[in-house]
């Protein structure tokens, strides 16, 4: 995989601050995703989880702090350049191209790849991992079900060929059986050695998957540790996650 020899973490975030028009949402936070690791950000809604991913991938400009991908400083770059540095951001709500077919959506994922052979190889890989997409390949994205849309969003991200995946609330609004399938796929991606930063509301869902969990509240990381530790801390769950 990309730059496997270097010892830098897949993603390193330092003192990151960002927000929208005059309002700071993130107030200086830092963490790392080691190569091949799965790190999960949990926390209440509206406290900056999505803002964090959007700042890492450049959709929002950082007001302070640094973001490094594989040791390379990408702070302040436009999102298309950060994508080229090897980040696949699977955004919340999928953001598929609604009037394109599933196959066209997937091809857009490989936009930066110009080698036709490599694109075909990735397409075969994604169809192998997510067979539902192969069945639906000629259907326009707007006609997919919620679970299929989520699969297509993940598939499109995988078409980028990046080793670092940022996945925003993959379970949002889906039926439990579909959530299980989606997490099965994410588990398979981790087993392949990809590095994953996952945003999730429910820490129990990532108990077997995440190497580390950070609790994000009010724009700052208020607790970090292993998933099982967090699940044993009733007072944290009650305070921050309403459970």
């Amino acid at each position: 995989m990309r730059d496997a020899a270097t010892s830098a973490p897949a993603l390193s975030v330092e003192g990151l601050a960002s927000g929208y028009a005059g309002r700071n949402v993130l107030t200086g936070l830092g963490f790392e995703v080691p190569k091949g690791g799965c790190v999960t950000i949990v926390g209440p809604n509206g406290h900056g989880k999505t803002t964090l991913l959007r700042t890492i991938s450049g959709l929002l400009r950082a007001r302070a702090g640094r973001v490094r991908i594989d040791g390379r400083d990408v702070t302040g770059l436009a999102p298309n350049r950060i994508a080229a540095a090897g980040v696949a951001h699977v955004p919340q709500g999928d953001l598929l191209f609604p009037q394109m077919t599933v196959a066209e959506n997937l091809l857009m994922g490989a936009y930066l790849e110009t080698d036709a052979g490599e694109i075909a190889r990735r397409l075969a890989y994604v169809y192998g991992l997510l067979p539902k997409l192969a069945e639906r390949r000629d259907q326009i994205a707007a006609s997919l079900s919620g679970g299929e849309r989520r699969m297509a969003g993940i598939g499109r991200g995988l078409m980028m060929g990046a080793d670092l995946l940022l996945i925003d609330e993959p379970s949002l609004g889906l039926a439990p059986i579909i959530i299980e399938q989606i997490y099965g796929v994410i588990g398979a991606l981790k087993a392949e050695g990809r590095s994953i930063l996952l945003v999730e509301e429910n820490p129990a869902r990532v108990a077997d998957l995440a190497d580390a969990i950070h609790l994000l509240d009010n724009g700052a990381l208020v607790w970090s540790g292993a998933p099982q530790e967090l699940l044993a801390r009733d007072e944290l769950l009650a305070t921050y996650l309403g459970g």
Partner: protein, 294 residues
């Protein structure tokens, strides 16, 4: 009824011109969420560029069309670099309004530049075919057939570009979801530049075609642009196939109304159709709810 043939030829010719003018306008609206009020001025520019290339430089007419396309591409690219891109960067919230006013200003400036250089008197467009063709029972001017052919060829080429190439897919991707496209590595600024240049090139060729059956004057592009707006609104802004269908359909309606009721009833009829369509379907015949972009 031997009159149906000629009226239909006239309707199809204007339909092809409307469709060509609409295509550029619709592409830009779809990708940038911007109404380019200078679109008509780019048509005019193309008409005059072909005129100068053939009359002043002595180039063959085919190269006159190339010169028109090149002038339109340059104008479109400059509008992006000097007007649209700075406005979008400085005040994305008010872009949809400010860009209309700004490109309206560009249109006035371009029109007056042409007036200064060429003067106000109309010229004949040298890029035009003479003579008539007989197609079965119908006689049609070669120039009208050329216009239909060029319009169909350009529309086909644009359709292939948008659906079959990587660059064209990127344009559709940005039109449908800019942020998602950027996350996949698409430079939205690069797409905007390409779309405005492409729309300028189409406008340039369209200007040659319009002036070939009317005449060259500094206000040449005004009427086709107005009609193009109408087609876009009837079809639903940003819906390209719908806008092309509306162009041909309404141009044929216009041609028959002009024949049956008199030339002055053509435009009021079009406007009446627009109002009725908007009352019945506010997003246009084939439109979906509009998304705010940029």
């Amino acid at each position: 009824m031997d009159i149906i043939g000629p009226v239909l030829v006239a309707g199809l010719t204007t339909g092809a011109l409307y469709a060509l003018a609409t295509l550029g306008l619709s592409l830009v609206w779809g990708a940038l969420g911007m109404l380019n009020m200078a679109h008509g001025a780019m048509l005019t520019l193309g008409g005059y560029a072909a005129f100068s290339a053939v009359r002043t430089l002595g180039l063959p007419p085919a190269l006159g069309v190339v010169a028109a396309a090149a002038a339109g591409v340059a104008a479109g690219a400059l509008i992006h670099l000097l007007v649209a891109s700075p406005l979008a960067r400085r005040s994305p919230e008010t872009f949809q309004t400010t860009i209309m006013i700004a490109t309206f200003g560009v249109a006035i400036a371009l029109e007056n530049a042409i007036l200064t250089v060429y003067g106000g008197q109309p010229f004949g467009q040298p890029v035009a075919l003479r003579g008539f063709a007989r197609v079965g029972p119908v006689t049609a001017p070669w120039q009208n057939l050329l216009i239909m052919g060029v319009a169909l060829a350009l529309m086909g080429a644009v359709a292939l570009y948008l659906t079959r190439t990587r660059g064209g897919r990127a344009i559709r991707a940005v039109s449908q979801n800019r942020e998602a496209a950027e996350l996949l590595g698409v430079s939205s600024q690069g797409v905007y530049l390409r779309v405005l240049a492409l729309s300028g090139g189409l406008a340039g060729v369209c200007g040659v075609m319009v002036s070939s059956i009317t005449q060259l004057s500094p206000t040449l592009g005004g009427d086709p642009m107005l009609k193009a707006f109408i087609m876009c609104v009837v079809a639903g802004l940003g819906n390209i196939p719908g806008a092309i269908a509306a162009s041909f359909g309404l141009a044929i309606v216009e041609a028959f109304v002009q024949y049956l009721a008199g030339a002055r009833w053509g435009f009021p009829t079009l406007l009446a159709i627009v109002i009725l369509v908007l009352v019945w379907r506010p997003n246009g015949l084939f439109g979906r709810a509009q998304v705010q972009r940029l």
